[in-house]
Amino acid sequence: MIIEYCSKLYPEKLRKIENPPSRLYVLGNEKILNDNAISVVGSRTNTRYGEKMCKLFTKGLVEYNINIISGLAIGIDEIAHKTCLENGGKTIAVLPSGLNNIYPSKNKELAKEILNNGGILISEYEPNTEANSKKFLERNRIVAGLGLGTLVVEAGYRSGTRVTVKYTVEQGKKVFCIPSNLDNIKGKSTNELIRKGAILVTKVDEIIEEYKDIEFTKKEIVHKDIFLNIPKELHNIYKILNEKPKDMNEIILLSGESVNEVNYKLMLLEMEGLIKELPGQRYIKGIN
């Protein structure tokens, strides 16, 4: 579907930015474009801490019925989209390419799940356009434009995230940053942004407090399993794992599968980077 600038479907928030796209190509649920949403952005090469924080804050935002906007990139973007879906939220992905050319192709599955779960894919480019570095930065004005504000999870020194932050500020919106240890290179930009006046947040409520004139309604989170690029035979084991480390024996017990099956399946999941083994033969879920 194409939404022209003059259409009444064109998102109000985007209309107000300095150089709004003249038309939007969209796929999915366009009705959510005017709902409350926050942009969640960050590094493509996030740390484990970044992943953990991204999940925590995304989940918290979904709890307040806030949609999550991001760029479908690897790293923080995909974690934000996926976590949103896992918690029954709706998410908006703004592409740096045409809708027939989903970028990165690794996240095609994710794009499909976004559509399956009442979300939407947006691009300002002709459907067959390919992504390029100019478009990576350009589309960030839409990422910022559709949201009430931008939450930066982790960002390296030179990153597209800084561009999204620049647009957010230009659009007169709030920038929230999750602080990092000083020795975390992926936290350099977030810490610096805080120093320059971005709002340091330690919990989701601190984001909510910044929007006094909006009334957010809280809802109960119902967890949903999202299987991205995971072969069916591994679903049962993957489902059992979460952020809390689980012992090998517990996994065997909970899955009802044999020791052999559990072992080979854990190996395959680990090879794919979907889970991680911790000391003491304990496993947790996690991207990267």
């Binding site: 012992d247 017990l253 080979y264 190996m267 000391p279 003491g280 304990r282």
Partner: protein, 281 residues
């Protein structure tokens, strides 16, 4: 516990094997009563015993613990306690399944085709990775402790498996599991499969495959190949570990009575290289 139970799933001794074992016990003066030894031996030498008691030696050479474990199990409990000398001296005989002792009067060759099992803690205090008890070791102490076991020795061990404290084992008892008897049946079947497969090759089991035979009997399909390549890159495995993984995968396939090694057999075999994962991290 695990080591002792292993005996219960091993196939019964053949007459030839029983005679060989009895001979070894006889020349070492370890024969407690007359007649044939019919049980697979289980030897657990303490870490304080001298080198030649473990690998064999003496003026008139006598077989050591490693040979007394022939066709049975040699178990080293808390392996980092053993001296570097002993551990390094074990490497060759474990690989060659025999030990050669040179004396002026000639060379003595004792067989030592045993299953080698060793145990160790995750760290000096034993609590690393435990949810309840706190580990008080520093990273350096843990690193030093793990490094006591050299890479070449580790490479000669087919499977590394972490086990939990007994508390968990009780819980585990409820899970889907086989009795020793059922396991032993499967082991016997797998043995027969291997004997038949290798009848023209002068070997009996997967563990004896040399690199050329591995190529012939451990062929992989595309999917298995990809998994193995990924694992190599990720875990930085050695060439020797490569052979071990294929042999273990071959054995898992045999236990399931499968003609070919499948990707899940490879994945499971890689899973049993937990030490390699640790060194990587």
């Amino acid at each position: 516990m695990l080591a002792k139970r292993l005996k219960t799933i091993l196939p019964e001794l053949s007459i030839e094997e029983a005679i060989e074992i009895t001979k070894i016990y006889s020349i070492s003066g370890e024969l407690k009563k007359d007649g044939l030894i019919t049980n697979r031996p289980f030897r657990m030498p303490h870490h304080t015993i001298p080198l030649n008691t473990i690998i064999g030696g003496g003026k008139i050479p006598k077989p050591g613990e490693i040979s007394l474990a022939h066709y049975g199990v040699l178990f080293l409990d808390e392996i980092p306690e053993y001296s570097r000398n002993i551990l390094e001296a074990l490497r060759e005989p474990l690989e060659n399944k025999e030990i050669i002792i040179n004396r002026l009067s000639g060379n003595y060759v004792f067989p030592c085709n045993c299953i080698f099992i060793a145990s160790m803690n995750p760290c000096p205090c034993g609590n690393y990775g435990d949810e309840e008890k706190e580990c008080k070791c520093t990273q350096l102490e843990i690193h030093k402790y793990l490094k006591k076991i050299s890479g070449p020795l580790l490479d000669r061990i087919d499977m590394h498996i972490e086990v939990k404290r007994p508390k968990y084992e009780k819980l585990f008892a409820k899970a889907k599991s086989e009795t020793s008897l059922e396991m032993r049946d499967r082991v016997n079947i797998a043995r027969e499969i291997q004997k038949k497969r290798y009848k023209n090759y002068n070997i009996y089991s997967n563990s004896e495959l040399n690199s050329k035979m591995i190529e012939e009997f451990c062929k992989l399909d595309g999917k298995s190949q990809i998994i193995l390549e990924k694992a190599f890159e990720k875990l930085k495995l050695s060439a020797r570990a490569y052979g071990k993984i294929l042999k273990v995968a071959r054995t898992i396939a045999d236990l399931e009575e499968k003609e070919n090694i499948e990707y899940r057999h490879i994945a499971e075999a890689i899973q049993y290289r937990s030490f390699d994962k640790k060194y990587d991290n």
